[in-house]
């Protein structure tokens, strides 16, 4: 039998770890979309960007938002606030996940970089962010229950 106080501390520590993971994944998304898994890079003949570029920009913007929320969730002390911020990150991450090819069309051929690399990478990482945020929220709420 773990004592209440010990248990509360343990939950809180675990939720901090989960929050750090959430923030790190958000950072990975934000940096990765511009470096490791960007959209197709070449412009078309007319000098315009292809639409997948705008998907990249949108994911980048969403990534910055997720990063800020993620860092906030790490630094706040109140389990209640942490749970709230984390819960808010879940729909944000899912929206970011849907940007490539659902909110913003990607290129014509699915064997191009935006389809073959950017889209699966964004979906996987956003899925992981949503899952990690859900775990953070769950653990924070558990910690909150015991602190009352």
């Amino acid at each position: 039998m773990m004592q209440g106080k010990v248990w509360y501390g343990k939950m809180k520590k675990l939720s901090t770890i989960a929050a750090v993971i959430t923030a790190a994944l958000s950072l990975l998304l934000t940096i990765g979309i511009k470096t490791v898994f960007p959209a197709c890079e070449h412009k078309t003949d007319t000098g315009m960007w292809m639409s997948c570029h705008w998907a990249e920009q949108a994911v980048f913007a969403a990534g910055i938002g997720l990063c800020c929320a993620g860092v906030l969730a790490v630094i706040v002390r109140s389990p209640r606030v942490r749970a709230g911020v984390s819960l808010g990150m879940i729909p944000a991450a899912i929206s970011a996940m849907l940007i490539p090819n659902i909110f913003i069309n990607l290129c014509m051929k699915t064997d191009m970089q935006c389809h073959s690399v950017m889209r699966p990478a964004v979906m996987l990482i956003c899925g992981a962010v949503a899952a990690a945020a859900a775990v953070t929220a769950f653990l924070s709420l558990k910690a909150k229950e015991r602190s009352e």
């Binding site: 078309t44 007319t46 069309n105 699915t110 073959s116 990478a121 996987l124």
Partner: protein, 397 residues
Amino acid sequence: MSLAFKNLRGKPVRTAVLVILTVLLALTVFAGTLTVSSLRSGLGSLENRLGAEVMVVPYEATTKKSFENILLQGSTGYFYMDKSVYDKISKTEGIGRISEQFYLASTSSGCCSIPVQIIGIDPETDFTVQPWIKKSFDKPLGDCDIVVGNDLNAFVGDTLQFYGTDCRVAAKLEKTGTSFDTTVFTNESTIRKMIRASIDKGLNNFKDIDPEQVVSCVMIDPAEGYTADDVVNDINLHIKKVRAVRTKEMISGVSDSLSGVSRIVGILIFAVWVLGGVILLLAFTMSVNERRKEFAVLRVIGASRGRLARTVMAEALTVGVTGSLIGIGLGLLIMLPFANAVEGLLSMPYLLPDIWSIAAIACAAAAAAIVTGAAAAAVSAYRISRLDTGVILRGDN
């Protein structure tokens, strides 16, 4: 909670290392096997999709490699020869089935389009593409109807424009893992209209052809009693400015690189497997050796020799199952969403096998990792069950 599980939890770092090793083992075996098997089904699919034993194309198309690049590399291009050639070919001895095809590439003008290979078929005679289209679309292709390959970001009902011709997407084909996945198919009259428009707009490299009087490629199956070689030799000997190729020969390059890749993957799997096996063997041996006294104590309080061996095996199996589950999970997360990226990287026909084959490969890879771990631990389990309790207990005093 069993003793084995508590032992694993009691040494988190050692357990993590063992699990990570098993993850790597399962992941390599799974990803490697899946890659080779996808390349195999890609090659099989390519053979099926080419669909004819002999293809006849303009001579320049073979010297410039444009023909092979279109069919095998997924680049776009087009070439034409006079329609009279088709008539000559059809009179050659030993022709079974014969049909013509028309090639065109769309331009990359406009903000969102990328050059796409367009192939026109003659619905009357075609025997190579239609059987395959039929799986997704069982009506004849009407004018301005197109059927798109699986890798094109277009869906049934969409309208795509090629050289000013609005085309309705009538069907989307199944994935083939070949360059046909980015190809648009249409009927003869529609593509002739597009070729005409491309010439009128000055976007076609062939400036002075009459779209009504050309074909790009002739597909042939030899009649019974004749071999593809007979037909190829006959055509190459008697008809000028064209070249007949056996499709088998054309894809021999692909199957050569396939066996090359298979060999490399095989060596890689073997190396990781041997290395992983040896490290697991050492790790289990060390882990059991440093606990010889604990095992002796278990003997003292009444554990049989079998029980000691089972405890060691239970630890190994827990590690093996956990590690291979994570490894397979990771493998699925990498290999399935990034299949197109792998295809691009290998630039070879690459078609994921069906879900049951993937499941079978996953199970086999997990089993291989678990068995390797279990075999590595079995050595220690055997030795610990032969433990001389009396000697160990007095040993360190």
